[in-house]
Symmetry: C2
Subunit: 199 residues, 2 copies
Amino acid sequence: MARIEYPEAVLGLIQELKQLPGVGPRSAERIAIWLVQHPRAHPQALSAALLGAHETVSSCARCGFFATPEGCSVCAHPRREPILCVVEQATDVISMERSGAFQGRYHCLGGRLSPLDNVTPENLRIGSLLERLEEESIEEVILALGADVEGEATANYLADLLRGKCQVTRLAQGLPAGGGLEHADALTLARALEGRRGL
Amino acid sequence: MARIEYPEAVLGLIQELKQLPGVGPRSAERIAIWLVQHPRAHPQALSAALLGAHETVSSCARCGFFATPEGCSVCAHPRREPILCVVEQATDVISMERSGAFQGRYHCLGGRLSPLDNVTPENLRIGSLLERLEEESIEEVILALGADVEGEATANYLADLLRGKCQVTRLAQGLPAGGGLEHADALTLARALEGRRGL
């Protein structure tokens, strides 16, 4: 005897939700049922938000941040210092902004060098980075890339490329704020020691 | 200086995603960015699935399972035995079906008695349950409710109501399949002992 199953429309919704990052089959089922049954669910509003984001948000050809038909808020931001913070992803701009410690401009590479994943310099937004250096009279480039192997490789590649064109710096490595020595791994401690500063 | 933030459309999408069950602010941000940026993301398909489910799926007035314009697959299912399994939620029907151990019909209460949450017998689908008993010449009602306080209270209430109308049974309580004695709590063990069966 054939089993009773959810209606096709619910199965289709579960199928779509399952593809979202961090949403497994169980969560997808739970979310789909909630969207169909719960009085506080607004599937129409979510659907509209999805279409709205899909239609209006693209990637800024200049800096790589999110652009809308009105422009890109990074490029349009007034009175930013001529210091360029190079990050991997557009989302890293938001993390930097939330730190409140940076008043300059941003450039998103759109990834990092990773030969194993076929990501070479041609796949990154490096051409527009070089253009911006001249056009915007950038004084300093801060390489704000991840502290892992691929982030370091990308930083080294860019440092070689930019040498002589402007000052190039990178983020400090060391103990994370609030982290005790007992939670730091050996490599973090070695780098914290290496980068020690006078008091 | 005003911080750079995500475009409005992305913030709106994050806002909507945050309301889904089990999706916190961080997951919502991650999913929204993925939907906007990832080449494998299909926000239009998800949006269509949402609207489709919202428009076609409702609750069956008779049994409480999901109904579509074509009808309800529980009520339309052919050749089911005249045994009625009473569950709390429509989703419990799927769990029972996946067990493969039941060949009868289903009735979803739409919840369980919970005076603290203002859920009284009037809020549950009990009237249609009584109607079905007569109309479908039901021989047995299996109360497949949760093994917690509210589930038991609901089962006791229904057992009183149905006594004399048909045979009333409930699911066994005891050790879960694959569970050793060392993982069972005291109450589960007490009930497993109480419900022991001859070999």
